[in-house]
Structure formats: C-alpha cells, structure tokens
C-alpha cells in the first residue's frame, strides 16, 4: 500500500488529508500522515504491534476515534508507529499499528495532542475516499 497523504494549512495546528481506494485505506493513510508529524516514518522499525477496536456508526467520528485511539496507544506503550491496518464490520472497527519505542537521541517531530472535529470530512473522492481533519499540536 503506498502512502497517499498531504497537509493543509491551519493557523495554529496542522490539517491532514488522505486518500484511499477504500475507506479503511484512507483511514490508514491518515494515520501515516499524523504520525509522520512526530517522526520520519522511514526511521521507524515496525517491531512492536498494538491493537485497537471501537464501535462507531458515524464515519467522520470514526476517523477521529481511530486517530485518537492510535495516539493514546502510542503514549501508553511509549511507541511511535509507522504501519497500520484497519478493517470494519458494520459499526465495529478493528485495527493494528506497528512501531518501536522512542530511541534516546532520535530526532523528534512535533507532538500531536489529538485529532479534532475541525475541517472533519470523510467523503467519496480522489482514488475512492478522501478524508481530512485538523490535528492539535
């Protein structure tokens, strides 16, 4: 799967926008975009795995929940992520993220505090689905 994401301007924070052939792929690319703010993905080794699961019928709130669950798991386990998978069965979403513990002395990006509902959009477009939101840094 090739990363397909970009950033858009927001005065104080950072807007992320991602595309995918499926909704799940677009969500995965949004996760890549968000964690790339904190660490260069190429420098992260996918040696540890964590799982997330949640129920959400509203696809826009599902995007925010997905991103925020990943942020929370990263902090709880002291990890930075670089690869993801996500699947959906109705309102139930299950995903995985792979990454590694922060290395002392590694160059760090900017901490993302949370994914917000600002400029939140999940809609058909681009390669299939286009998703976007602003993340608070």
């Amino acid at each position: 799967m090739t990363a397909d994401y970009r950033y858009f301007d927001h005065e104080a924070d950072i807007g992320i926008e991602a595309e995918g052939k499926t909704l799940e792929e677009a969500f995965v690319n949004a996760a890549l975009a968000m964690f790339a703010i904190m660490a260069e993905p190429a420098t992260v080794i996918p040696e540890r795995r964590v799982s997330v699961a949640f129920d959400e019928a509203d696809v826009e709130l599902a995007l925010v929940t997905w991103l925020n669950q990943l942020l929370a798991q990263a902090r709880v386990h002291g990890l930075v992520f670089c690869a993801y998978s996500l699947s959906r069965a109705g309102e139930h979403w299950t995903g995985e993220a792979w990454g590694m513990p922060w290395r002392p002395g590694a160059e760090r990006g900017t901490e993302v505090k949370g994914a917000t509902l600002t400029q939140l959009k999940v809609e058909p477009g681009g390669k299939g689905w286009r998703v976007r939101c602003v993340v608070d840094v």
């Binding site: 858009f8 760090r108 900017t110 917000t116 600002t118 840094v137």
Partner: protein, 477 residues
C-alpha cells in the same frame, strides 16, 4: 480578516453587526486594526458561532492575540449562566486543559548569570524531560494519580517538589476544587503515568529570560521585578491526561449536544448544558486535568531549581505567579447591575483580575494579578497586571501569547531548524531542542509581533504592561 465586516466601537475594540434575522449574541473583538486585519477569516466565523450557543451572557469575545482554533478560536472568551441553560464546551477549553505559564523570579542579574548560560542550557536540557515521547522520572501508581487529580500542586509540594510558599502564587492556591477523578477514563490515567514532570513539545517551552524593560515601576516592585533581573518562564499543561480528556469528551459531548437538541453551527463546539449529567461529568474531569497541570508545572519548577543549583550554587528561584490559559471556571461577575455566577471559558486567554480582587495573593492585591503573555523564542514575553476595567470589558481576561501569524506548514517552507538555532545563538539566545522540525515551526517570524499584542492588550484596557522579558536560554520539546 475582512475589516469591512466589522464595526469599530473604539480604537481597540470592534464588533460584527448582526445580519437581518440573525439570532446570536454580540461579538466583540479586541485589538488594533492591523492585528485584526492580519487574522484569519475563520476567527470571525468561530467567534460568531460561539455567540449562538445557549445561555451565553454578554458578548462572545476575542483577545488581541486571537487566531483560528477548533470550535472556539484561540484567544476566545465566553461566559455562560447555568441557570439560563448555559453550556460547557470541550471545544471552548481545548485539548491541553489548563495549559499555562509559571514565572519564577531569581536573585540573579544578567551580569551574574551570563557566563553560565551555556552550562545552564545544557543542565536544563538534561534535567527537564521535553519532546514527543519523552517520559519523566516520576512513575505514578493509580492512587497517586488520583491524589494529584484532587490535590494539584499541593500534592507535588507535599511530596518534596517545591515549597509551600509556591502555592500562595498559583491560581486557586494550587488546587482546583470540583475535580472528580472517577470522570476521567482509564486510558487518560494510563497516558499520564509516565508524563508527570514533562514539558511536551509544540509551543511549550522553558525559558531563562532577562527583564529588559520596566513599564510600571509600582507593579514591578510589588511583583519583585527589576531591570537586568533573570527570570524563568515555564509554558506547558496537563500533558497526556488532559489530551485524552479532551479527546474523550469532544466526541461524547458532540453526541450529547445532538441528543439534547442543541443546534451546533460547528460540531467542534461539542457541548452540553452545565446542569446536565454530561456537562457535570466533563466539568469534574476538566477540573481534575487542571490539577494535573498545576502539579506538572510545580514538579518542573522543582527540576528547574535543581538545574540552577547544579550550575550556579546560591541561585534562588521563587514563584512570581502561575496562570492557566485553557480553562472554564465558575466565577462571580456583575452583569447588567446584578452579581451572577458564570462559567467563564478562556481558550488561549489568561485570567486578569484587577486590583483588590480577593483571589489575588495579598502581596499583589493592591496592584492586580500578574498576567503573562508568552512570546516566541526569538522576541520576548511580557508581564502585565490586571485592571478593574477588564472586569467590565472581558470578564477579567487578557491575551495569553503572541498568537500565530503563519501556519506550521508555511513556517517549514520558510525556515530550517538548524539555521534558525544558529542565527538565534548569534543573537545571544541559546536554544536546546530535540526537534529541528519543531524549532522551524516555532520560528519567531511565524508569530504575530508580541509588542503589538501587548500594546493592544493595554490600550484595550484588558491588562497593563509591567515588564518586557528577553529570552536568553530556551528549552523546546
């Protein structure tokens, strides 16, 4: 911002006339014409949305440093009456609950300290955990974290981080009442266990500064400030716990608003009536996060003292003041000739109580509450003092920072971290950071002119300038 949409009230205050049939409260924007002109149009959209929320008392306001946020604009102030169906909004407080600034004065002058700055920068960078993913040395049990959520900075002092005298100069004496740890999710608590005593990243910083100019000698005397004096400012908040509470309640309050029939012009305004179970739940969790932020800055104060002592034996650091700028607090205010209890949201705005207010420490009460405007790492910061006028104008609120003028994305196109750090070093400002990207994003040129913000804050009557602080050492995450 399109100035044609605004109507001038006076030189430092503007409003937005209501359109035909437009059902909303008044909007008031404080600042000079150039500051307002440079603001994004979204500031106007967001504050106009706030003016549509139920139970709002008086106008929805922006401070002179306002910029585009999420839900509320950063620099937004709005007060709600619970008895009139007023709401509490997670988007009106922000993710970094109780983010704020602790300012410490020292017994050192520039001449005493200047030779030690490189060692001091290294010691602070070594001792203050900063940057994304960085954990503190303090590992908390679940019980200890519950105690911090209830006791705030008092817990930190009782456990050897700082002195009882610090508590006298922290808002709420270091402990916010009304905290309910049970309203905080397990995930939020887990996120905090390794993050007490950490600075974070983004616009958070620890700076060693010199008092370069005194504007108000009487207030400066009361605050114990003089020209040439070294002070330290610590800007950070409630870390992972606050972020997770913001995350949890943003979605749950957005759903509650929809269920309770509150029409939100923007989902990010996620709110519930203060008197509803959902509103009360958020309030209890938010107060717990305020206590975590107060404890976090208290622990960082202790670590800062240790760093100073390791480099300059005899250095003494005392708390000037600790003020938060992302909160919602229940306060007594006069509106239309009657005293009322109001829930005042300040998102990226500092409380600024005027002289005589009982919440101000006795040492400062005659002059007013210290107000801190944190600037960028290359320009400077201001200490101001609250005014009586601000009680009428802004529920005793003022600016909190320089305010961004350029997005982070644009800043990365303009500056490179390494070059910027070298340039600042040549100007006598030592930067220590774990993130070159972060340094570029935080370039001084990406911020509004802090001098204009401080001047506009004073001219608008929100707070009066007392001292200008020039950075000498800056620790960034």
């Amino acid at each position: 911002m399109d100035m044609k949409r605004l109507k001038q009230i006076d030189q430092w205050c503007y409003t937005v006339p209501r359109g035909e049939g437009e059902d909303r409260a008044e909007v008031r924007l404080y600042g000079s014409a150039p500051l307002l002109e440079s603001m994004d149009e979204m500031v106007l959209t967001q504050i106009t949305n706030v003016a549509r929320l139920p139970g709002l008392v008086g106008p929805a306001m922006t401070m002179p440093d306002a910029h585009w946020g999420y839900g509320f604009p950063i620099g937004g102030v709005a007060a709600f009456d619970a008895e009139a169906g007023g709401i509490i909004s997670a988007g009106g407080v922000g993710f970094d609950i109780s983010c704020g600034i602790r300012c410490l004065r020292t017994n050192l002058d520039l001449n005493d300290a200047v030779g030690f700055f490189p060692q001091l920068a290294d010691a602070l960078f070594r001792d203050i955990p900063a940057g994304v993913g960085e954990e503190g040395n303090l590992k908390l049990s679940a019980h200890e974290l519950d105690q911090i959520m209830l006791e705030g900075a008092r817990w930190a002092v009782e456990h050897g981080y700082g002195t009882a005298a610090d508590l006298d100069f922290i808002e709420e004496h270091g402990r916010m009442a009304g905290a309910v740890p049970g309203n905080v999710s397990d995930l939020a608590k887990k996120r905090q266990r390794g993050e007490m005593g950490t600075l974070g990243s983004g616009n958070h910083y620890l700076e060693v500064q010199v008092v370069e100019r005194i504007y108000d000698p009487e207030a400066a005397r009361a605050f114990g400030l003089h020209e040439g004096q070294i002070v330290v400012s610590i800007h950070c908040g409630s870390r992972g716990l606050g972020h997770q509470i913001g995350t949890d309640y943003l979605v749950s309050l957005a759903k509650a608003a929809s269920r309770l029939g509150i029409q939100l012009p923007d989902r990010e305004l996620a709110c519930a009536p203060i008197k509803s179970p959902e509103g009360q739940e958020y309030l209890g969790a938010m107060n717990a996060a305020i206590n975590v932020a107060l404890a976090n800055r208290q622990i960082l104060t202790h670590l800062t003292r240790e760093s100073f002592a390791s480099v300059i034996p005899g250095a003494r650091l005392t708390t000037l003041y600790d003020v938060s700028h992302n909160t919602c607090k229940l306060e007594r205010h006069v509106w239309e000739g009657r005293e009322r209890w109001l829930y005042v949201h300040r998102k990226g705005a500092t409380r600024a109580l005027g002289p005589g207010h009982p919440a101000i420490p006795p040492e400062y009460r005659a002059v007013g509450q210290p107000v801190i405007i944190g600037g960028s790492m290359g320009t400077g910061s201001y200490i101001l003092v609250g005014t009586r006028e601000a009680e009428q104008k802004s529920w005793s609120s003022a600016s909190h920072g320089a305010g961004r003028a350029m997005s982070r994305k644009q800043a990365l196109k303009h500056w490179r971290g390494r070059e910027l750090i070298d340039e600042l070093r040549d100007r006598g400002i030592l930067i220590r950071t774990k993130s070159l990207r972060g340094a570029a994003e935080e370039a001084p040129g990406a911020y509004k002119d802090v001098d204009l913000v401080a001047e506009a804050t004073e001219r608008a009557g929100l707070a009066r300038r007392v001292a200008f602080l020039r950075p000498k050492v800056c620790i960034k995450g």
